[in-house]
């Protein structure tokens, strides 16, 4: 049993010929793998590496560098909410707070109980004239308001497409957040 379908592996093997040097195929290949199984598991990355005749560690190194590659399961519909300055000035923080409540998650990356939704805060998406905005299902959503967020969620809850999802992705047990111990201050405050 492999992580990726035989058909997909064949497709990945055909990628290197499209580029001046075969290594350029690594990102398009990871893209295909992620599209097929939702996120990049270690097995999937190894299979991509074998198909492209690259070192598995190398492939993982590339995957971990770029934010659009997901190494953990994601909701079927992921909100990429811009919280960079232009969107924050127009109320992105409020949008994120509302979104968390509306899909019932406590933090970025967590998947809603029905497996449909997750969100992450992202850096500028280059649509600043429509702030606050987000990317959802490969499309930009502009001029976000609390009502608009509710509507986006509701549409996806009732859409027949979501009923076709074979199995909702398992909700990962909440991962302990890496916390940095507060640094002891050795210098006196206010000097």
């Amino acid at each position: 049993m492999t992580a990726l379908s035989t058909h997909l592996i064949e497709e990945i093997k055909a990628l290197p010929a499209k580029y001046p040097q075969p290594r350029s195929a690594v990102m398009p290949a990871l893209d295909l793998a992620q599209e097929e199984i939702g996120h990049l598991t270690p097995e999937a990355m190894s299979e991509v590496a074998v198909a492209l005749q690259l070192d598995p560690g190398y492939v993982e190194g590339v995957a971990t560098f770029y934010t659009l590659f997901h190494l953990e399961p994601v909701g079927k519909h992921r909100f990429y909410v811009c919280t960079n300055l232009s969107c924050t000035l127009r109320g992105a923080e409020r949008i994120v707070e509302h979104l968390k409540t509306a899909i019932g998650v406590k933090e970025a990356g967590e998947i809603s109980k029905d497996g449909l939704f997750s969100y992450e805060e992202v850096e500028c998406l280059g649509a600043c004239e429509y702030a606050p905005m987000c990317r959802l299902d490969h499309r930009y959503q502009f001029d976000l308001t609390v009502e608009k967020v509710d509507a986006l969620i509701a549409e996806r809850r009732v859409s027949p497409a979501s009923a076709l999802v074979p199995t909702p992705l398992p909700s990962p047990s909440p991962k302990p957040k890496p916390t940095r111990a507060p640094r002891k201050r050795t210098l006196k405050k206010g000097g």
């Binding site: 560098f65 000035l89 280059g126």
Partner: protein
């Protein structure tokens, strides 16, 4: 698609914007599109193309402001192997959306410009590196390239000539650093996007080890107009040294955020108050970033500053990628700077130490300040960190930009920093509570 917010029917880049279905080849061609490429491949030599662009005075619109014709002429003419034009469509400078605006309106302008540039450097393929989040622009470019191939404008015999030309697409996957040209090339080669040390410069050893010129979307989209109307017609616009027009994105606390085509040399007051409608009702503009978050901030009192690129350089800031972020008196400068530092720390590629360590130090310092744990120590620390980030200590400009945010906000708004650090208070927020 959502309603377009910005200039339509402008002088150069947005000349045809507003025409229904401009993104389709037929409409684009009916207005005169592809006539420049036709002329180039059937009547002109590479040297003539470069001379025409030189006469226009066009400079790179990605932020570096480097003369485009000069960049092309650096690519060796006698190189035996492939040479490439790489299009930087990885627009991700906070506050900048103009490349997206151009691509969504007129993808053929970029394709035509990229093909002309490829001809000018003696190459045959242009690679467009487009950020992964730009789904719609990617799909539009993909379809437009297919149309151009089907019509015979690209391929082995564009317009019946024997000069093969192709435009290819490569999608990024979310990394601000890819806007830096050597990091972009690394990414295009299937690697982690970490900037290269130079020399060798991309013109000698660029994509896949071959001579390469990396150009921004807006720069190349301007090229067909220049070839249609002649370099001197373009050079008539703008200021004596900074020629032509450019697109600025205005965002933040203004009434009409949007992408506006401006003649270089108009003032920020004109852009912010007239084109973008000025401050929101009942608010006052406090500060603006004149060229993306990486440009040093200017206070409201400097709204009359000209967009002339050399003038901005003289002020120590820059026109950058044209993203103008406007902030009014309801927002705290320290918080805004803290948010931007989080951005730079997140996007630091980790290759060189001052940027990797310095940006994270700054973030932790800002966190303490905003948690009301600040003191003189934090003020001094921020100052030390910003110095350490700047001055060519990093491989690329990301570290400098992070330093400039700290330095310029502290220089103009020292009072807000002192309130937070020394008195654990924020007059901006207090004013809002009592309003």
């Amino acid at each position: 698609m959502a309603e377009q917010r910005g200039t339509v029917g402008g002088p150069v880049l947005t000349e045809w914007f507003g025409t229904p279905d401009l993104h389709s080849l037929d409409v684009y061609e009916s207005l005169g599109g592809y006539s420049a490429l036709r002329k180039v491949v059937t009547e002109m030599t590479a040297v003539q193309v470069i001379d025409e662009v030189k006469a226009s005075g066009l400079r790179g619109r990605g932020g570096a402001d480097f003369p485009t014709a000069t960049k092309w002429s650096f690519v060796p003419k006698d190189h035996p192997g492939p040479k490439y034009i790489v299009v930087n469509a990885d627009e991700s400078e906070p506050g900048s959306a103009k490349d997206r605006y151009l691509l969504e309106n007129s993808p053929h302008s970029l394709i035509e410009g990229a093909a002309i540039a490829t001809f000018a450097i003696g190459g045959h393929t242009a690679w467009v590196y487009i950020r992964g989040e730009y789904d719609v622009p990617y799909e539009m470019l993909r379809d437009a390239i297919a149309e151009a191939h089907a019509k015979g404008h690209l391929g082995d015999h564009p317009f019946g000539s024997d000069y093969a030309l192709d435009v290819r697409l490569y999608r990024g996957h979310g990394a601000y650093i890819c806007g830096e040209e050597t990091a972009l090339l690394e990414s295009l080669e299937g690697k982690r996007a970490q900037p290269r040390s130079r020399p060798p410069f991309p013109a000698i050893k660029g994509a896949w080890g071959m001579p390469t010129a990396v150009n921004n979307v807006e720069t190349l989209s301007t090229v067909p107009w220049i070839l249609r109307h002649g370099g001197p017609a373009y050079a008539k616009r703008g200021t004596e040294k900074a020629k032509g027009t450019r697109i600025v994105t205005v965002s933040g606390d203004v009434q009409k955020p949007g992408n506006y085509e401006i003649e270089i040399g108009v003032t920020y007051r004109h852009i912010i108050e007239e084109l973008a409608g000025g401050a929101l009702p009942g608010r006052k503009i406090k500060v603006f970033w004149p060229g993306g978050s990486s440009a040093k901030v200017l206070p409201e009192s400097m709204l009359d500053t000209s967009t002339d690129l050399d003038g901005l350089k003289a002020l120590g800031t820059m026109g950058g990628s044209g993203g103008i972020i406007v902030m009014d008196d309801s927002h705290c400068v320290v918080k805004a700077a803290a948010r931007l530092l989080r951005f730079y720390a997140h996007e630091s590629c980790g290759k060189c130490t001052p940027c990797r360590v310095g940006s994270n130090w700054a973030v932790r310092t800002y966190e303490r300040i905003l948690a009301n744990e600040g003191s003189e120590i934090e003020l001094a620390l921020l100052d030390r960190v910003q110095q350490g980030l700047q001055g060519g200590r990093c491989l690329c400009g990301l570290g400098d930009a992070a330093g400039w945010v700290i330095q310029s906000t502290m220089a103009h708004f020292r009072n807000e920093y002192e309130e937070h650090c020394l008195h654990q208070t924020c007059s901006v927020e207090k004013a809002l509570v009592h309003a």
